[in-house]
């Protein structure tokens, strides 16, 4: 019946909520639910038209019941579609906060668990819809603008309370040269450094460096 496809979308969203990565966008399902809404809208319009403006809901109760059912089905589908997309934008925003950009995103499934190379997964197709890719771009810009108001505190830095300012780290994969206030350090695989934690948090989060206990 009406709403069943919308329900499927919500189950997809619910599953996605508990996953570390973002599963592929349900293009077909979204299209089908959208079509259902348009059909229902058209049915409603047709029904209203057939009364030629003289519809009295209390005189024709069966018709008004059918129209109410149509109307509720439309609302239901709209809610399911919005919740599905919202769940995904929430996850996308979370990734933007973590410092991923669009180039990284197709690979985020792999990197979230194994810490393997972000760029090595370019064979997998994007799990984002084109609209979602646009959204990521725009949200990244928005976040950058907000962040720019608070440059001194590094808004996207760690949400773990700071413990030791300077830490020992091991380099898990080559990350090139980074600038610290004590000068430049070249991070080559398997080397170890005593560095300011704030300088390398992003690299730890992205799996380039490992904090040593």
């Amino acid at each position: 019946m009406y709403g069943d496809l919308g329900n499927k979308l919500v189950h997809h969203a619910k599953r996605a909520q508990n996953l570390a990565h973002l599963p592929p966008y349900q293009t077909e399902l979204v299209r089908a639910v959208t079509r259902e809404v348009r059909d229902l809208e058209k049915d409603l319009a047709d029904m209203l038209e057939s009364f030629e403006g003289g519809f009295d809901p209390h005189a024709d109760q069966a018709k008004s019941c059918t129209m109410l059912v149509n109307h509720l089905s439309i609302r239901r589908n709209k809610r399911c579609l919005l919740a599905y997309h919202r769940t995904r934008t929430d996850k996308l925003e979370e990734l933007v906060w973590k410092g991923y950009d669009l180039v990284d995103l197709p690979g985020q499934q792999v990197s979230s668990n194994s810490g393997s190379n972000l760029a090595a997964t370019d064979t997998s197709s994007s799990s984002l819809s084109p609209q979602e890719e646009d959204y990521v771009r725009q949200y990244s810009d928005l976040l950058a603008a907000y962040k720019g108001q608070w440059t001194d505190i590094d808004l996207t830095g760690s949400l773990e309370p700071p413990r030791d300012l300077f830490i020992d780290v091991r380099v898990l994969k080559d990350a090139g040269e980074i600038q610290t206030e004590y000068g430049a350090i070249t991070l080559t695989k398997n080397s170890q450094f005593y560095v300011r934690q704030g300088d390398v948090e992003r690299l730890i989060a992205q799996g380039y460096l490992q904090k040593l206990g």
Binding site: M1, K14, H58, S64, C65, R79, L82, T87
Partner: protein, 185 residues
């Protein structure tokens, strides 16, 4: 209730037994019978998002709520039947709520909003609190593993609110243990 909340949306999809109060020729599909039309008093099972407002909307023109007639009338879903409530009253821990429905308490709050059932309300609250305490014990036993809600027996019978409680208890224990171990570093 939250518009974007997935659990609320899924609870809204819970089916409730109901009967239409009038013949509706165009709605036969709700009874899997599109060609026949829907006859008044045919028992059908509809999701809350549809049934609730049909039960609350008036089809007649009347300013007096007493004689306003709804499109359909609702009944208690099976998950909240007398048998289930009695079983919960006897031993809240012995019932696998999840087998009734994944959204047992969510459904219950919706139905309690529609039906005056003080007895059921009291039983469910006791059930919830008793099972919550039990859930917390299991969460402690599960320890600092990430293997959340995969136990058999009691844990497999947890419905969604209870699963959330289990996760909260488990995450609290785990975060505390991790902090304890981290202090030494």
């Amino acid at each position: 209730m939250s518009y974007y909340d997935l659990d609320a949306i899924l609870t809204d999809a819970e089916k409730v037994p109901c009967k239409f109060e009038l013949d509706v020729p165009d709605l036969g599909y709700l009874d899997n019978n599109p060609s026949q039309g829907l006859k008044a008093q045919t028992p059908v099972s509809l999701p809350l998002w549809l049934a609730e407002l049909l039960a609350l909307s008036s089809r007649t023109q009347s300013s007096n709520p007493e004689d306003s007639a709804p499109f359909l009338t609702l009944e208690m879903p099976k998950a909240l039947s007398n048998e289930v409530v009695s079983a919960l009253k006897a031993d809240p821990r012995a019932v696998a709520l999840r087998d009734q429905t994944h959204n047992m308490y969510g459904l219950a709050t919706r139905m309690l909003d529609l039906f005056e059932e003080p007895e059921m309300c009291a039983v469910l609250r006791r059930t919830f609190v008793t099972r919550a305490a039990e859930t917390a014990l299991h969460a402690r036993k599960a320890g600092a593993t990430d293997d959340v809600v995969r136990g058999e027996g009691f844990l497999s019978g947890l419905e969604e609110w209870e699963r959330s409680l289990f996760r909260r208890a488990h995450d609290g224990n785990k975060a505390c243990k991790e902090w304890m171990e981290g202090v030494k570093k």
